[in-house]
Amino acid sequence: MISYVLRRLIQFVPTIFGVTLIVFFLLNVLPGNAAMMAGGKNRIPPAAQKLMIKKWGLDQPVYARYFKYIKGLCTADLGTSFISGERVTDVLAPRLWPTFKLAVIALAIACVTGIPLGFYSALRQGTAMDTVTMIGAVSGVSMPQFWLGLLLMYFFSVYLKILPTVGYGNGDPKFIILPAITLGVGYMALLARTTRAAVVETLSQDYIRTARSKGISDLLINRRHVLRNTLTIILTSAGLQFGSLLGGTVVVETLFSWPGLGTMMVNSIYYRDTPITQGCVMIIIVGFLVINLLVDLSYALIDPRIKYQ
């Protein structure tokens, strides 16, 4: 088990490395462009451009800049913003908490509703409830988040007037309700579908037939035998699909003017502030990787086949 954990931890390093490589080169292959476009649509005089290029080290070759960037990463230095000249870490730090809070609450909503719905649906395969739940789930997966957000906003804020439309409201919990639901619904639908498929698959296994032949009550079979096995499948796919939730934060934050990493990222793309974009992308990806690492490590607790490897 220790060897498994170690292996997973060590595998984490090249993945991070690979990700930085792809992201960095993606955002930096056109060196002059960044300076030219810096400051958005307002063109900068050529003299100033040259100065900026020199100042940001953009005259150096890409690989040299990459090594510098990696060196910086090791000391938690993500570079400085092209626009404001502030350190990227300083710009992004206050943005972390709102995004984290939004993602976690959305995740909680999705898990608490999606997994039981999928379970329930699988146990009542073929009934009307199952059909309704699964139609709901496929609709949830197909729903564009910004549209769902607009509909919710219209209903709760414009029509019922019980919730605020947009903004952070200085941490007022009322403000997070709509964004969190908007962000969570798609993921909830994904979880419900995954859970149902996993449970249906498990129910057809030979060892469930064995459990039935032992005379064990359905409740115990479902709670113990089915759930345990299903958990690994759900966790895997929940981890992999968590990326869709993180990607969704960008859209949802923009729609609700939520002061998180997502809005920051979109703005930095508008203004061609590459270091900021890069910082946002890296933080989101690391979040995604950490979640998947936790998922993998949790197998070791659930599945004895890994424990004894």
């Binding site: 993945t15 564009p144 992308v281 989101i284």
Partner: protein
């Protein structure tokens, strides 16, 4: 063959998905004949923000353009994004997945490593980064989304090849001295095409959603081209005065994506008997 007809009929999701998809294709192809007005040339500020009525079924937007016409033309954008970007995805994914799974060894290790790194970047984030590099525009959307999801196709293809490679009919083909290309493309590929097809239709749904998101964020298709996502970009500000601006383009995205998802689900049920015996 009789059974095939029966089986397809019993799959409501497959039938519904196919019908929706065909309708969208029809609308996209015949848009000029179906749309009452031109989607952006007929702007007329005199008739801006009119609610839905007999004359303007879906109402008009702030520039006085007929929303119905724009939604009809928007199907062309969404459909082309779905088809073209998924085509790019599939070709890359199949080529890498097939060769990696079949040849194994170092090549497999490289492909798997790259695909895993790609899979560890959330797709929308990756697409945003590519758009940041290329700048907005429809062609760039094709490229960005075409490069985004190939790793999923690659992974599925590779795992299918690994399963099929050890099937006895593949061994028999080798034992008869068939060349690698013949074995890969004539014996393995046709047998794993089902799951790839499923991936493709679900991938199209995903691409359409992502294009809408990019355009909503202002980083995808640029105005005045009527992209469904782009039409919703400014809708929030008019939510109090003209809520219909938010309704119809979103509904169009929803129905299209739903149709493709149902199609994908239905295909999976049909082609993968292991999963389908539940219904």
């Amino acid at each position: 063959m009789d059974n095939w007809v029966k089986k397809i009929r019993k799959r409501t999701n497959l039938v519904a998905g196919t019908i929706v998809f065909l309708i969208i294709v029809f609308v996209a192809v015949f848009a000029p004949y179906l749309a009452p007005t031109h989607p952006w040339d007929d702007a007329d500020l005199m008739i801006s923000e009119l609610p839905p009525s007999g004359e303007y079924l879906f109402g008009t937007d702030s520039k006085g353009r007929d929303i119905l016409s724009r939604v009809i033309y928007g199907s062309r954008i969404s459909l082309s994004v779905g088809v073209i970007s998924q085509l790019i995805n599939s070709v890359i994914g199949i080529v890498f997945g097939l060769t990696a799974g079949y040849f194994g060894r170092l090549w497999d290790d490289i492909v798997v490593a790259v695909a895993n790194i790609m899979l560890s970047i959330p797709s929308l984030i990756f697409a945003l980064a590519v758009m940041a590099l290329l700048g907005p525009g429809l062609i760039n959307v094709f490229i960005a989304l075409g490069l985004t999801n190939w790793a999923y196709t690659c992974r599925i293809t590779r795992s299918q090849v690994l399963g099929t490679k050890n099937q006895n009919y593949v061994k028999a083909a080798k034992a008869m001295g068939f060349g690698r290309c013949r074995v890969m493309f004539l014996h393995i590929l046709p047998n794993i095409f089902g799951p790839i097809l499923v991936m493709a239709s679900l991938g199209m749904a995903d691409a359409i959603l992502m294009e809408a998101s990019l355009s909503f964020l202002g980083l995808g298709t640029q105005p005045p081209v009527p992209s469904w996502g782009g039409m919703l970009a400014g809708a929030r500000e008019q939510l109090f005065t003209a809520p219909w601006l938010s309704i119809f383009p979103g509904l169009a995205i929803f129905i299209t994506v739903l149709g493709l998802n149902l199609l994908g689900d239905g295909l999976r049920d049909l082609l993968d008997p292991h999963m389908s015996e539940t219904k």
